[in-house]
Symmetry: C2
Subunit: 460 residues, 2 copies
Amino acid sequence: MSYFDAASAAPLHPVARQALAASLDEGWADPARLYREGRKARMLLDAARETAADLVGCRPDELVFTSSGTRAVHTGVAGALAGRRRVGRHLIVSAVEHSSVLHAAEVHEADGGSVTQVAVDRTGAVPAGAYGAALRPDTALACLQSANHEVGTVQPVAEAAEACRAAGVPLLVDAAQSLGWGPVEGGWSLLAASAHKWGGPPGVGLLAVRKGVRFAAPGPADEREAGRAPGFENIPAIVAAVASLRAVRAEADAEAARLRELTELIRARVPHLVPDVEVVGDPVRRLPGIVTFSCLYVDGEALLHELDRAGFSVSSGSSCTSSTLTPSHVLKAMGVLSEGNVRVSLPPGTAARDVERFLEVLPEAVAAVRAKLGAPAPAAGAAVGGPALVVDALGRRCPIPVIELAKAIGDVPVGGTVRVLADDEAARLDIPAWCEMRGQKYVGEEPADRGAAYVVRRTS
Amino acid sequence: MSYFDAASAAPLHPVARQALAASLDEGWADPARLYREGRKARMLLDAARETAADLVGCRPDELVFTSSGTRAVHTGVAGALAGRRRVGRHLIVSAVEHSSVLHAAEVHEADGGSVTQVAVDRTGAVPAGAYGAALRPDTALACLQSANHEVGTVQPVAEAAEACRAAGVPLLVDAAQSLGWGPVEGGWSLLAASAHKWGGPPGVGLLAVRKGVRFAAPGPADEREAGRAPGFENIPAIVAAVASLRAVRAEADAEAARLRELTELIRARVPHLVPDVEVVGDPVRRLPGIVTFSCLYVDGEALLHELDRAGFSVSSGSSCTSSTLTPSHVLKAMGVLSEGNVRVSLPPGTAARDVERFLEVLPEAVAAVRAKLGAPAPAAGAAVGGPALVVDALGRRCPIPVIELAKAIGDVPVGGTVRVLADDEAARLDIPAWCEMRGQKYVGEEPADRGAAYVVRRTS
C-alpha cells in the first residue's frame, strides 16, 4: 500500500514516536504544580516551546500550543479580530484558504463583520498587489495561507505581509502545509500550523502571535498557554510534535529536492498517459510533494476506489467524492476542471518506484471508470450536420453531464450550439472547463425550469 | 517519590500506554477518507465511541471526543445556552464547580446572561432542594459537578437532575472526578469528562449531549465530531483514553474500597498527629481517593515544598500557593479554613505503606513550617487581663495575620476583643475559620483605611 495523502495527515515520524514514548513517562503531570513531577513536565514544555519558536522564527513567549491546527486558526482569527475591533471589522482572506479559515470568516460575517475574498488566478495563486488592493481603513486582519493544501501553489506571503505592514494591518499566515519545509518568510504577524501535517502526532497545533499585535483570546478565561489555548496541556504530544519538526527540518532540503523530482515526473507524464487530463496548480512556485490533476469524464470517488484497490491512497477535491456534493472551493476559485480530481501528496521518504508504479496503474484506473460511465472515446472525430441540440442531464450527477456533452458534440455542426440541461452544481464549473480543454466555445448559462442550461458552440 | 495528586492528573494507565502505541500505527490517518488507512482510522474511532458511550451510559451518537475536559465543559455550556436562548438566558451553577464551568459562566454573564451560584454547606455539598429552588422560568441550563475536585464531596446529581427535568431544564454534569469510578446516576442531559483524570492520556475529553437537548455548537463550523469538536481527531489518544477507562472501571469497585480505607485512615489520624488541623469535605458521601485538610498557622506553599522534599507530591487550595493570591473558591464557598491547605488524592494502586509514611512525615513537615513562621504553641494557655488589643498585620501575607491573632489572643481578657488589621484577601476567610476552630467569637469585619479590621471576642 502506498500512502500518497500526506497533505491530509502524514504518518507518524519515527522521532515523534520515540519522543512520545519517552515523554509519556516524564510529561504527564500538571506543569502548573510545584512538586517534582510538575516541575519535570514544566521543563519539557518550556524546552519544547523554545525549540518550536526557533523553528517557527519567533520568540518563545509569542508561541502557544493548541489542540489542533484548526483550533490555532480559529483562535488566531477570532483573537486578532477582537483585539482590533476598534479599528474596524473588515477581514481579508483568499478564496483558496483552508476551510478552517473560511469557516472562521463565516462566523465573523454572521456576527456583523465584513469579509473580502481575494480571488486567485488559474494556478491558484493570489495575484501580486491583490492584498494591498483589498486593504481598507477598517481592515482588522488579513489571512493568507503559505501554500495551498489542494494544489500546492505557494502564495506571495512576503509581499502580502509587506502591504499589510505598510497599512498597519496584521497578517495571519496558515502555514499548515509548509512549516515542515521551512519557516515562513516575510513580516507576518500571526502564524498557525498543525503537527500531524509534518509527521507529528495528532492533537497539537501551533499559534504564534507577535508581540505588539493586539489580541483578545475568545471564549472563557483559562490560565494555561497564555490564556490562548484552554485545557490541560498535552505535553507528551507537544514534545513529540516539536522533536519531529526539528527532524523533518534537518532532512527538508534534500527531501524537498527529491520529492520535487517525483512530482515533476507526475506533472510531466500524466497528460501523456491519460487522455483528457488537466494538471492544475503552479508548475514552479509549488510545494515539493503535491501534484493535482483532473480527469474528464471521471467520477472522482470511483477513481479513488480504483486506485485504493490498486494500492494507492490519494484524495480528491471532486464534487463526486465529498459528502457535501459541491466541488472543492479551491478548484472552483481557480476556475479549473473539478471532475475526476486527484491530489497526490507524497510523504517524505516516498520511494521513486512507488511513484513509477502509480503512473503504471493510473491509466487503467481512469479507463476503467470511464468505461463504466460510458465516456466518449478520447479522439472523437468531428461529424457534420444535424440541428441545434439539447442534452438532458437533469438529475444526473457529475461527471455524467460532461460525458453526455462530449458524446453529443460530434453531432453538432461547426458553428452550431448544444444546450446542456443540468442541475448538478459541479456542471457550472466543469462544462466551461471542458470547453477550455477541448477548444470549444462556452457561450454561457441560461435559466431553466430546473437547474440551468449551459450553452456550448462547436468551434472545431 | 509518592505521587498523591491524582485529582490534578493521573499517571498514564499501562493499558492506555499499550493502546496508544498500537493505535499510532493504525489510527493516524484522516477518518473521513475513503482509502484503507482512512477506513482503519474510522473503525478505531467508531469502536472507541461505542465503548465510551457504553461506559458513560449514553448512545454513541450522543457522544463526541473533545481535546480536553475543559473544552468539553466550555462547548457543553455554550452550546446548551445557545440552543435554549429563546427560553431565556439564566444559568445555574454551584459555587464549587471547577474553574472551567465558572469561567464559562463568567463569559455568559459578560455577554448579558444571568447566573445563579448555588451555595454549598460546610461539607461542600449542595443542599437538598437547592437546585429546584434556583430554577426560574428563564433558566436555560443548570450545571452541577458529580463530585468536587478539591474536597471530594459527592453532589446530589440525581436529585438536581430530577428537579431540572420536572422544569424542562437540561442539567450538565461535570463528571471529571468521578467517571473513572462509575457512570453518573440520574437523568442528566449533558456530561463532560477528561481522560487524564482516570489515567488516560492528555488531549482527550468527552462531551455527551442527550438526544432531544437543544444544542448549538459555538464557534466556526467544522464537520468533525458532529460539529461539536473542531479539528483533526486525535484517534490514538482517543483509543487509549477509552481503553484505560474500561480498564479502570473493571478495577473500580475493589480499588475504591481499598483507597477509601486509606483516605479514611488519613481523615482519622491527621487531627491526632497534627495540632490545629481541620479536615474538610463530607466524611461519608465522598470520592474514594481524595482527602483534604487545612493546617492553622501554615503557609500552604511552604508545606508543599516540605512534603515534596520528603517525597510526597500533593496540591493545595491555599491562597499562599496559587499565582492569583486568592484562596480556593471551593474552600471559600464552604466557609472553612483555607490556610495550610493540603489535598491528598491517591491514584489507583497507591500502596498502604506510602500512606503510612505520609502520616509519619506530615507532623514534622507542618512543625517545620510553623517554626519558620513563628507560629504559637498549639496549646496556648488563656492569660488574663490587658486592654482591648490591635494586631497590625497590614502588608503581611497568609498565614501571618492568623498567626499574629493566635499569639495575641492570650493577652486578651475573656470577654474582651482584639482587632486584626489585615489586607490579605485570605484573612477574610481564615480569621472566622480560626475562630470556629478555637471556640472564639468572630464579631465581624469593619472598614479600615487599608484592608479591613476583623474583630474577635475571646470567649474562653
